[in-house]
C-alpha cells in the first residue's frame, strides 16, 4: 500500500509540473525510474513507442504501465487518475476566469521561460533514449575500443528513418513498425 500511495504522489507531481504536452512528462519519468525503480530507462523508451502507436498521451500510458507493474489493475487506475487530478483542478479554476487568464501578461512571460525549459528537458530525454538505443556503454567499458561504443546497425537505421520521415511525412506508427521489423531481421 505505501508503494501505491507513493506512486500516486509521484504521478500527481508529474501532472502538476509537466507543462507543454506529452513529452514534457519525460524528465519526471526518468526521475521516477532513478529514485524508485518502478520501470527502467529502456521501459520508458518502449513506452514512448507504445504511446506513438496507440491512442492516448505518453503520460497516461506510463502511469497506467507503472501502476500495473507495481499494483496490478487497481494500481493502473489509481496512478492514471493521480496524473490527471492536478490539471483537472487547474482547468476548473481557469474555466471560471478564462478571459482574465488569456490576457494576463505574466502568463505570456512565464511561457517565454517555460518553452525553452521544456524543450531542454525533452532534449535531455532524447539523449537518455539514445544512450539505450544507439550506444553500448558496457561493451565500450569492457574493451575501451571506440568501435564497440556505437551500435552501428542502429545508427544506420536511425539515419534512414530521419531522412525517410523528412521526405515521406508518414505517420510515426509506420516508421515504428518498420523499425520493429528491422530490429528482428537484423538482430539488434
Amino acid at each position: 500500500m505505501p508503494t501505491l500511495l507513493q506512486l500516486m504522489l509521484e504521478f500527481a507531481k508529474t501532472g502538476l509540473f509537466s507543462v507543454g504536452g506529452g513529452l514534457a512528462t519525460l524528465p519526471f519519468l526518468y526521475e521516477m525510474s532513478d529514485s524508485f525503480g518502478w520501470f527502467s530507462h529502456a521501459d520508458i523508451a518502449d513506452m514512448i513507442a507504445v504511446s506513438e502507436s496507440t491512442p492516448g498521451a505518453i503520460g497516461i500510458n506510463m502511469s497506467t504501465y507503472a501502476g500495473f507493474t507495481t499494483g496490478g489493475i487497481p494500481g493502473a487506475f489509481l496512478a492514471s487518475l493521480a496524473l490527471a487530478f492536478p490539471s483537472f483542478i487547474v482547468i476548473l479554476i481557469i474555466a471560471r476566469f478564462l478571459a482574465k487568464f488569456r490576457n494576463n501578461p505574466h502568463v505570456e512571460g512565464a511561457f517565454y521561460g517555460l518553452r525553452p525549459a521544456s524543450l531542454a528537458m525533452i532534449s535531455a530525454a532524447g539523449l537518455n533514449v539514445a544512450k539505450v538505443a544507439l550506444v553500448n556503454l558496457d561493451a565500450y567499458a569492457a574493451s575501451g575500443a571506440i568501435s564497440d561504443l556505437f551500435l552501428w546497425k542502429a545508427i544506420i537505421l536511425g539515419v534512414m528513418i530521419f531522412v525517410g520521415q523528412r521526405k515521406l511525412k508518414w505517420h510515426p506508427v509506420v516508421f515504428i513498425a518498420i523499425s520493429a521489423v528491422a530490429g528482428i531481421v537484423f538482430q539488434f
Binding site: P27, S87, G109, F111, P116, A117, A120, M121, S123, V132
Partner: protein, 197 residues
C-alpha cells in the same frame, strides 16, 4: 444524467482514436464536438487548446475537462475527463499484460531494440520542430543550455536539481525577463512580439 453519459461516451470515443495526442486531435474534436454535436465553436476550441498547452498536464485531457465543464459544470468535467482516460488505460493494461509475459522473448527484444532507434529519431524531430518557437533570442538560448546541462548530466553533477524546481525557476525567469524588457522599452507587448517571431 443523459448528457453526462453522452459526455462520457463521446470522450471515450475520442480518447480511443487520438493517436499522438496534442494537435493531432484537433480535427477529430472539430468533427465530433463542433460539426456533429454543436457543443462548442471552432474558435472556442482553439482557445481551449492554447490554454491546455500553457497549463500543467496533458493537452488532450485539459481540453476534455474544459468542454465538460462548459456543458455541465464540475460533474460534466469529470465525465469528459474520465471518458477520455478510459480507452488508453484499457489499451495499455492489455499491452502491459502482454509485455510482462512476452518481454523476455528474443523476438520481442529485437523488435523493441529496433523501435527504440525510431523513438530516438522521433524525439529529435520533435525538438527540431519546437526549436523555432521556443528558442527565440539569447535569453531563451541561455535558459535552454543551462537547463539541458542540469537535467541531462544530473548524474555527474555535484547537485541534482529536480525537474519540478527547474520548471518553476524557468517560469519565474521568463516573467522577470519580460518585466525587465517591458520596463526598458516602455511597452507591454513583449509576449505578443515573441509569439509573432
Amino acid at each position: 444524467m443523459n448528457e453526462l453519459l453522452e459526455l462520457y461516451w463521446t470522450f471515450l470515443k475520442i480518447g480511443c482514436v487520438t493517436f499522438g495526442g496534442g494537435y493531432a486531435m484537433l480535427p477529430i474534436l472539430e468533427r465530433e464536438l463542433v460539426d456533429k454535436r454543436n457543443w462548442t465553436t471552432m474558435d472556442d476550441l482553439r482557445d481551449y487548446f492554447s490554454i491546455g498547452q500553457c497549463t500543467p498536464g496533458i493537452i488532450a485531457l485539459n481540453v476534455s475537462t474544459f468542454i465538460g465543464e462548459k456543458r455541465r459544470g464540475v460533474t460534466g468535467a469529470m465525465a469528459a475527463t474520465l471518458g477520455f482516460l478510459t480507452g488508453p488505460i484499457i489499451i495499455i493494461l492489455i499491452i502491459a499484460a502482454f509485455l510482462t509475459n512476452f518481454a523476455s522473448l528474443p523476438l520481442v527484444q529485437h523488435a523493441f531494440a529496433g523501435i527504440r532507434v525510431c523513438v530516438c529519431v522521433l524525439i529529435i524531430q520533435a525538438v527540431l520542430r519546437l526549436w523555432k518557437k521556443s528558442v527565440v533570442d539569447p535569453f531563451t538560448l541561455a535558459l535552454y543550455l543551462i537547463i539541458f546541462v542540469l537535467n541531462a548530466f544530473s548524474g555527474v553533477l555535484p547537485v541534482k536539481v529536480p525537474a519540478a524546481v527547474l520548471v518553476v525557476c524557468a517560469g519565474v525567469a521568463g516573467i522577470t525577463a519580460s518585466l525587465i524588457r517591458n520596463r526598458r522599452t516602455g511597452s507591454g507587448q513583449t509576449g505578443k512580439e515573441k509569439e509573432e517571431k
